[in-house]
């Protein structure tokens, strides 16, 4: 934990995201308790833990969808404060994929992907569309570019959501249970896309119960319980030798 604290103090460029002693309360309920975590550039970190343990809240603090009340969060060298400029700068650097996709239903797949690049990054329409097609091809859905989200399956929609986030050319990608809302037969196509993204070197922080994915791509697995990180290890160690009894209880539930 001391190492983590040091890393966030002078934020070397190899640190993509660091949380230092972050706490947050919803009313009287403390949802995050002194969370410290460093994600280095190019690293893939998987966050696991029981429902309600604060996983979503933690990663949503990283792009200010939730506000932490104490501690420090630094993203790509920028410390998150309540200033429009800072928040915008961080959000441009951080892509997020949600459980329920959150695609814009009134826009086509292509328009979903070009909206923020044209309006926020002020890319020309041509450039934005070229970028969009680059990433839509990467997630293998470019042939659906002119359809609306409702015309696509859940797995396809989630791949579009990944492409949409990538179109902003983020430095870090956050995933909040991206396969939890999907029918089982569609989980694979989304995980494959995420594995490919990891192989391309993207920095990723993924909340997921897909332990196979964690084994395959994670550099580290973090286990959260009741607002605390209670275990943090490389996947081999995490799965073969879980230290905490709550980790063991959790693993016995998710791995069959």
């Amino acid at each position: 934990m001391d190492q983590v604290a040091q890393a966030s103090n002078n934020t070397p460029p190899t640190v993509a995201v660091s949380l230092h002693q972050v706490s947050k309360w919803f009313g009287a309920f403390q949802v995050l308790q002194n969370i410290s975590l460093t994600v280095r550039t190019g690293e893939r970190v998987v966050v696991a833990g029981p429902s309600g343990s604060g996983k979503s809240t933690m990663i949503r603090c990283i792009n200010w969808l939730e506000q932490h009340q104490s501690g420090q969060i630094v993203v790509d060298g920028i410390e998150l404060t309540n200033s429009h400029k800072t928040i915008e700068a961080v959000r441009k650097d951080v892509g997020m994929v949600f459980q329920h996709f959150n695609l814009f239903p009134h826009l086509t797949i292509l328009e979903n992907c070009t909206l923020a690049p044209t309006w926020v990054k002020k890319l020309s329409k041509n450039d934005a569309e070229a970028t969009a097609f680059e990433f839509l091809e990467k997630v293998r859905i470019a042939d659906q570019a002119n359809k609306f989200p409702s015309q696509l399956s859940g797995g396809q929609q989630q791949r579009v959501a990944i492409a949409r986030a990538l179109c902003m050319r983020p430095k870090v990608m956050l995933f909040d249970e991206p396969t939890s809302a999907l029918d089982p037969e569609m989980v694979r196509e989304v995980l494959d896309t995420m594995v490919q993204l990891a192989q391309d070197g993207m920095t990723m922080l993924c909340v997921t119960h897909e332990m196979g994915f964690a084994r395959q791509v994670a550099d580290r697995v973090i286990f959260m319980d009741r607002g605390e990180i209670i275990e943090e290890n490389p996947p081999l160690e995490f799965f073969s030798n879980p230290h905490h009894k709550r980790t063991r209880a959790f693993l016995s539930q998710v791995i069959h």
Binding site: N63, W64, L65, H84, E88, R91, K92, V94, G95, M96, F98, H100, F101, N102, L103, F104, P105, H106, L107, E111, L115, A116, W119, V120, R164, A165, M168
Partner: protein, 218 residues
């Protein structure tokens, strides 16, 4: 028959035009206040929301005629001299604002939080969020409902005859006192209301087909 048209047609036509003006201008002004009320309702500020909610419930749960009569009485008490049509117009605006507030609030609530979150995560600020994400999704919800409201207003505005606003129904009463053609005049008035409401419905259908054009994100 030609005698009737040349003698009284003008009176009826004038009433018809006043109804259109009353309703359309009152509706436009009321819609603006309705939007403000809707923002108060969803503001999350207790006091503001309570104020807006009280207004909306007061207007939605009392008859339009009573509201209009109260408004005229109030003008008398306050010694404000306004043309009856203007007071009628204010009455229409007051009524519209309450219903429009509910329509817009319903529309805003129907858009899942995930839409705003998706936009925020893409660094889209609040103003662009409204313009590109919220407004275009509000339209298909608000447009049909406000057209229905407009049609209702056309019909409810007939009550303004009860407070001497020279709109269509009032002009009918005037013509009847002069001709005693009770059935004929009310039949003509009825047809004129029918034409008005059906035209509004036709316009709405046209707009709905063009809704795609109204998408500012394009």
């Amino acid at each position: 028959m030609t005698d009737f048209v040349t003698t009284y047609g003008g009176t009826l036509l004038q009433g018809f035009l006043w109804t259109i003006i009353l309703v359309s201008v009152g509706f436009a002004i009321g819609s603006v206040f309705g939007a403000i009320l809707a923002m108060m309702l969803v503001s999350g500020r207790r006091g503001l929301a309570w104020l807006a909610r009280s207004y909306v419930e007061l207007i939605r749960n009392t008859p339009f005629l009573i509201q209009a009569m109260l408004l005229f009485a109030l003008m008398g008490i306050l010694r404000i001299r306004l043309e009856p049509v203007l007071v009628g117009l204010v009455a229409v605006a007051i009524y519209t604002a309450a219903y429009m507030a509910e329509i817009i609030r319903g529309g805003l609530n129907s858009i899942p939080d995930g839409q705003r979150e998706g936009a925020r995560a893409l660094a889209i600020g609040p103003v662009l969020q409204f313009r590109l994400i919220i407004f275009p999704q509000l339209l298909p919800f608000v447009l049909p409902a406000s057209v229905n409201l407009l049609a209702t207003l056309c019909k409810e505005s007939a009550f303004l005859a009860g407070v001497s606003v020279a709109e269509l129904t009032f002009s009918g009463q005037v013509v009847i006192t002069q001709t005693f053609l009770i059935f004929e005049v009310w039949a003509i008035i009825g047809v004129l209301y029918l034409v008005l409401v059906l035209s509004i419905m036709a316009l709405a259908e046209f707009l709905e087909r063009r809704m795609m054009w109204l998408n500012p994100a394009r």
